[in-house]
Amino acid sequence: MERRAYYKNKTLPWLLIAPQLILVLVFFYWPTTQALFWAFTLEQPWGGGNSWVWFDNFLAIFRDREYWSTVLRSGFYAVVVTAISMAVALTLAAFVDRALKGTKLFQSVFVWPYAIAAPAAGVAFRFIFAPESGLVGSINEIWPGVWNPAINGVHALAMIIICHAWLGIGYNFIFFLAALQMIPRSISEAGAMDGARPVQRLFDLQLPLIAPTFFFLFIINLISSFTDSFGLIDTMTEGGPVGSTEVMVYKIYFDGFKGLDYSGAAAQSIVLMILVIALTFVQFKWVEKRVHYN
C-alpha cells in the first residue's frame, strides 16, 4: 500500500486545521458539554449555584404526559412536513427536468424560498393566514368561522406544517433536479419507446435511480423538521393555542428561556440530540449501504 505524505512537518497540519477545530470545539462541543452538565444538575437561573441530581431531570420529563404528547406531535410534524415538501419538490423537479428550455430560470424561481429566513417567512405567513384579515382568512366571509388558527389547534398546526414544507421545497428541488439530470437521457427515452407514460417512467425508472438522493433528502428533511421549526412557531403561534403547536424544540426554548428551567430544557435537548444522532446514524450506516448506486 502506498502512503502519500505531503507534509514532513508534524505540526503544520495541526496548525492548518486548528481554526476549524477551535470553531467546532467552541461552538459545538462546549455548549453540548454544558447542556450535558446542566441536564444532570438543577441549575439556578441567575447562576448562584447548582446541585447534582443524577437522572432526576430525565425522569421528570419522561413522567410528564405533556412531554410525551410533544414528542408524538414532533414525530407527526416531521413526517408530514417531509412528505409534503419532498412530494412537491419531486413533482416540480420532474416537470422542469422534462422541459427542454428554461431549466435555469425554473431553478432560480423554485429555489428562492429556501433563502428566506424562517422567522421572516413566519411573519409573512402569519398575515396570509390571519383569520380576520388574511388572504386565507377571507374564506371566512363565505363560510364564517371555518378557518381560525388562533383558536383551533388543528388549523394552527396545519398552518405551521404548510409553511415549513414550503420553506424546504427549494432545497429538495435542487437536489432532485440535479439527480434527475444525472440520469442518462437514453434510459428515459428507451422507456418511452417501450410505451411507458411519463408518470410510469418517473416511478419505475427514474425514482429507483435517484434512490440515494431520495433517502439522503428524507433523513435531512426529518432532522430539519425536528430542529428548524422554532423560528416559524415563535413568530406564528408561540406554541399555542393550548400547546397545539408545541413541538420538542419549541418546548426546549420555552422551558429554558421563558420558564427559566435551564436544567429541564437541557435534559430535553439531550433527548432531542440523541434522536437526531440516531437519524444521522441511520443515514450513514443503513441508507448509504443499502441503497444501491447505479
Partner: protein, 445 residues
Amino acid sequence: MNRTTLLTAASTIAVLALATPAMAQTKFEFWYGLSGDLSDRIQDMCKDFNASQADYEIVCVSQDNYDANLQNTIAAYRANKQPTITQIFDAGTLDLMLSKAYVPVKTVMADAGLDVDFGDYFAGIASYYSTSTGELLSMPFNSSTAMIYYNTDALAKVGFEGIPSTWTEVEDVARKMKAAGYECPVAFDPAGVWQWYEQFSAIHNQPIATKGNGFGGLDAEMAASQGLFVDQLTWIKAMYDEGLFVHKSKDVGQNDLDAFAAGDCQIFSGSVAGHGTVTAKAIEGLNWQVAMLPMREGVERTNSLVGGASLWTLQGKTEEEYKGAAAFYAFISTPKQAEWWSTVTGYIPVTNSGFEAMKANGFYNEAPYAGRELAIESLTATPPTENTRGIRLGNYASIRAEMVKTIQDVLFNNADPKQALTDFDAKGNDILRRFEATYAGASLL
C-alpha cells in the same frame, strides 16, 4: 532600535493612552422591558436625568418586553456584562430575591449618601418588593393595577345608568349590547391572566396559592381550583359561548385595547397603565370611562394587587456606577418627576405624597385623567390580607403560561373548568416543587 525597545515603547504609549484623564462622567446602563409609547417616555426621563447633572450618564436600553428583559439580563449577568439597573416585572420578583444577584436599594442609597423617603411609598407597593422583615430590595418604579374600561355611549344606548359594578351587571349590559347590534360587547384576551385571574382572586380575597400566596415559604401549593375562580371561569365560558365575550388578542390580529379604542368592542379589562394609550388611540368621538374591576354578587371587595415592575440594582459594578444608580433613583423619586411620569403614562403615583399632591392640584378632576385615581382606591380598598399582599411564587412566569393554556382549553376546546383548573394546580405545583428543589435550603428572606 531593536524589537524589544519597540515593544516597550508601544506598550508605554498604550498605557499612557489608557491613563489619560477618564471622562468626567460615569456611564452606566439601565435595561427596561417597555416598548412603544412607554419606551419613549423612559427615553425622555433618561435625557432629563442626564441634563440635570454633570457626573453621570445613564444609557437606557429597551429590551422590548418584560420577558425578554429578564432573559437578557440573566444572560448578561451570567456573562458578567450586566447593566447596573434592570427593570423586572412582578412575576420575576421571587427569582431575583433568591438570586443574590442584586444590591438592596437601601444599601445603594446609603452608600451614595443619598436619601429617599421609603416610608412615603404605598404600603402595598413597598411590601411587594420587601423581605418579610420589611427590607425594601428594589426601587418601586412603574406600578399599576387592573381596571375595566367601558364605552359610556354603548352603556347609555342600552339604558344603563352609571357604571356596572358587578359581573352580573356586566353580563346584563353585554347581552343588551349584543341585542342592540354591537358585535363585540366585551373584548377578552385569554393571555390576560393578570386581570382575569390574579386580580379577580385578590379583590375577592381568594388565595392564588397557599401560605399567603407563597409569602410563607417555598412549599406553597396552587389553589386555583378551590375557590371562586372556578365559578368565574365557568361564567366566562358561558359568556364566550353566547358571543358576549369576544376573543381579542394579537393571535387574531387585534388586541383587546385596540379593539376598544377603535370602538369595535365596548368593554375590556386591562392595566390602568393603558389609560394613556387608550387616550392616544381612541377614535374621534369615543366616550369612555375606567372603573374598578367588578365584583361577583354578594362578595365584599378587598384590595387589588400591585402590578408593573421595579428597578433592581445588580451586583458586580463599580462604586461609581452605584453612585450613578443612586442619583438616578433620587431623581425619579422627586415629586416633580414622579408626577410627570404618572401623567404621561397612566402608571399610578407610587408615594402617598405624590398622590396627595396630584389630587390637590386637581389632576384627577378632568378628562383625560379622570378615573385614574380609582386605581389607587382599588389598591388601597382594604389593608392587605394574606391573599392580597402580592404573589411570591417561584418561576411564576411559567405558571402564568400554564394558566393561559388552561383558559384557552376551556374556551376553545370545551374543557371542564373545574377539571382544567385542577390540572392547572397540579402543573403549577410541579413547577413550584422544581423551583423549591433548585433553591434547596434557601429560605424566604
